[in-house]
Amino acid sequence: MTRPVLAKLAGIIVLLGFYLPLLAGVRVQSTNQEKVELKIQLPRPMFIGTPRNIKTPNLEQVTGKPRGPFYVPKGTELVSQKKLVISSDLQPVIGELSYVTDGEKSGEDGYFVELGPGPQWVQIDLKASYNLQAIVIWHYHSQARVYRDVVVQVSEDKDFVKDVVTIFNNDHDNSSGLGAGRDKEYIETNEGKLVDVKGVKTRYVRLWSNGNTANDMNHYVEVEVYGLPVK
């Protein structure tokens, strides 16, 4: 073996001798060292003075986007106007049940009916069966608020015992006892909430709610049901 080769070998041995224990040490260290959770400091809340006291109705558009067009079959008409309304609350706290279908959609006082606290419903008798296309609901729109557990059901049975179809349900935790729904909650606006009924044939419409973000009461300014007469 020549001298330079020997020198190279000796160099490799020395280097290995130097690095191997280090590598081993690293491995030993990484297996022996206890892992701890990396604590990340999250941003703290900012201090600030007294916020605005909003007492008057807030008519600001909170959704940000207007509802786009909704298409229905030709011949679809408003079939709920002036139709009979009954309710789980026999004596509304404010207003009358007829307000629900009287065609008045103003957000001011005197245009809404107030039902008692807890789960309550109103029911509209369309007097005949229709292929329903859309239901538009105005609960109360002079303030940014959200009604809880909004459930819309339709049926040919006036007692809603059989053939009940639920077309909208945002009672996520089944607090109203009608089953949990997956529809989204929404902020009340003057546009009303449009529910797509997809042509279900029915005569009776029942709308549930369970208080709102401002108080425990239930309100209706107007409900409009659009449908096609059954041929």
């Binding site: 999250l42 941003p43 703290r44 809340p45 900012m46 201090f47 600030i48 003075g49 007294t50 916020p51 605005r52 006291n53 909003i54 007492k55 807030n58 909170v62 959704t63 940000g64 986007k65 404010i94 006082d109 303030q143 940014a144 608020r145 959200v146 459930v151 009940v164 639920t166 349900n169 996520h172 935790d173 089944n174 009608l178 089953g179 949990a180 729904g181 997956r182 989204k184 909650e185 902020i187 973000t213 401002a214």
Partner: protein
């Protein structure tokens, strides 16, 4: 009235005042301002940190004086604090206001003290703000103590009175920098009393004229010395508080500089700007709608007016007997000053209304003496107690958070507690428990009092704008304001169940719960999956 009868009556009123103030202290959700104060106190309690902020939150006494209450309750951290502990501080000073009447000594007679104490004990706004963890009740306590001590010093200036005057004035200043209003109004009231007495009493005028230059000099020298003592105590104690016990000496000077800022804010009041008659309207008559009850402190105000008339009509030649005149001038001047300032919040009426109620006690005591027929006396007192008691119930226990209540101002909705409750329920079904990551995305005005309610959670981040947050995916629970949620894409929100809650009237917050977590929650709560 016998001393013993007075003692029993006063004790009974005190106990009743304590009862109505401390009943269900957590009934009303924490207000934005209360939660801010609680967080600041939490820092002091936990880390011993307090830094005076000349931009907001006033002086430090509220925080330092809350310490014994937390220690006595065995609460050592912010997370351990309870609403009742914090509000217990203001309840203590609220009851203390009644006790201060005893400090008035001979300057109010026993029946005046009893009726004043009763009206203060059951006053709806006084009780309301005694259950409110902000500086105001402490401010009124120290202000009332200060004006009584100033009067005592005025009548009998000595070292003892000077020392107490120095202590109370410093505690008053260390509570709110704006106490300058109290100092100015009380000096004006003293000048008015001196003027009234001086005009009425020709003998006194002669006495003053007959004093030799030497004795005048002697009196003046003594007075100046005593005032220097009071001033030194004022400066020392205020310095100790504002400098966080010598840790930040420059903060004491900052407190004076802050006066300019508060002066500016008083004029440029923004959304807290209200008209001159705002306070008097709040107190006199409020009825928000056909179903809303009447809220009125008119009885107290009428009696206060009677007390003022009596104070001036019976003004004595002796200055020492004109405490009522002093109080009347002080009440009117402070009411006028506060009404003239465009920046108004309901709790600012507390200072002058307290003085009005003491005058109402004076008025009632004299009216009752003038009524000879005992049945009519009983009837009058019964009407006052029943009406005020009814108002006390409405303001403090029934309409405690309702916007129709005249003292409710930017109050957190009770609905907000449902959001807090839902987060608690969700945390219980996760493995992380209270260490679950929660993202809060809302402007500071829409954030509070959430930090108070989430104080027991270890991983809560607060962002003021949606742009500061990358993906929502990291958090299973997101609390976002209804305006900030509009900045997120529908696709991003798709895996979340969204629920709305009211923070305050007209301010909605959205709770986003990740589907995965919601499924787990639904499973554990055994919620039927399909709609009927």
């Amino acid at each position: 009235m016998k001393k013993k009868t007075f003692a029993y009556l006063f004790f009974f009123i005190l106990a009743f005042g304590l009862l109505v103030r401390s009943y269900e202290l957590d009934l009303r959700p924490m207000h934005h301002d209360e939660a801010n104060q609680a967080a600041k106190f939490g820092l002091l309690l936990e880390k011993g940190e307090y830094r005076y902020d000349p931009a907001d939150h006033h002086g430090p006494t509220l925080y330092y004086l809350s310490l014994p209450f937390a220690w006595l309750s065995g609460q050592k951290t912010y997370a351990q604090l309870e609403e009742s502990t914090l509000r217990g501080v203001t309840v203590f000073f609220g009851v203390g206001i009644l006790l201060l009447l005893l400090l008035a000594g001979k300057y109010l007679n026993v029946s005046e003290k009893v009726w004043s104490a009763l009206l203060l004990a059951i006053s709806p706004p006084l009780v309301y703000f005694s259950r409110f963890y902000i500086q105001e009740t402490l401010f009124v306590f120290f202000a009332l103590g200060f004006i009584i001590l100033l009067w005592r010093f005025y009548v009998e200036p000595d070292l003892n009175q000077a020392a107490w005057l120095g202590i109370f004035s410093s505690l008053l200043y260390s509570t709110k920098e704006t106490s300058l209003i109290v100092f100015a109004a009380s000096i004006l009231a003293l000048v008015a009393v001196w003027f009234v007495s001086f005009i009425k009493n020709s003998k006194a005028r002669k006495e003053v004229q007959s004093l030799t230059t030497a004795s005048r000099h002697e009196r003046l020298k003594k007075l100046i010395l005593l005032l220097i003592v009071a001033m030194l105590i004022f400066l020392s104690v205020s310095f100790i508080f504002y400098s966080s016990f010598f840790l930040k000496p420059e903060a004491f000077l900052d407190s004076f500089k802050a006066l300019f800022r508060y002066g500016q804010r008083a004029v440029e009041a923004g959304w807290h700007q209200h008209g001159f008659c705002y306070y008097i309207k709040l107190l006199l008559f409020q009825k928000s709608g056909p179903r809303s009850p009447v809220f009125s402190e008119a009885i107290g105000l009428i009696l206060a007016a009677a007390g003022m008339v009596i104070a001036f009509a019976r003004a004595s030649k002796k200055p020492s007997e004109n405490f009522r005149v002093f109080l009347a001038v002080f009440a009117v001047v402070t009411a006028l000053i506060y009404s003239a300032i465009p920046y108004k919040t309901p709790w600012n009426l507390l200072l002058f209304h307290t003085s009005f109620l003491i005058l109402a006690g004076v008025g009632l005591a004299h009216i009752l003496v003038s009524i000879r027929w005992s049945k009519l006396q009983i009837l009058l007192v019964t009407i006052i107690i029943i009406w005020t008691g009814w108002q006390l119930y409405l303001v403090n226990y029934y309409f405690h958070s309702h916007p129709d209540n005249p003292y409710v101002y930017a109050q957190t909705s009770p609905d907000f507690l449902r959001l807090v409750g839902r987060i608690d329920e969700l945390s219980r079904v996760t493995d992380e428990g209270k260490e679950i990551l929660i993202q809060v995305i809302a402007s500071p005005y829409e954030t509070w009092p959430l930090p108070w309610y989430l104080r027991k959670y270890g991983q809560v981040g607060y962002w003021t704008e949606s742009e500061q947050v990358g993906a929502l995916a990291a958090a299973k629970i997101v609390v976002i304001s209804s305006s900030e949620i509009l900045k997120r894409s529908e696709k991003e929100l798709e895996p979340y169940v969204s629920q709305y809650y009211s923070l305050r009237p007209g301010v909605l917050m959205v709770l986003l719960i990740h589907e995965e977590l919601w499924e787990k929650y639904v499973e554990k709560r055994v919620i039927p999956r399909k709609s009927s």
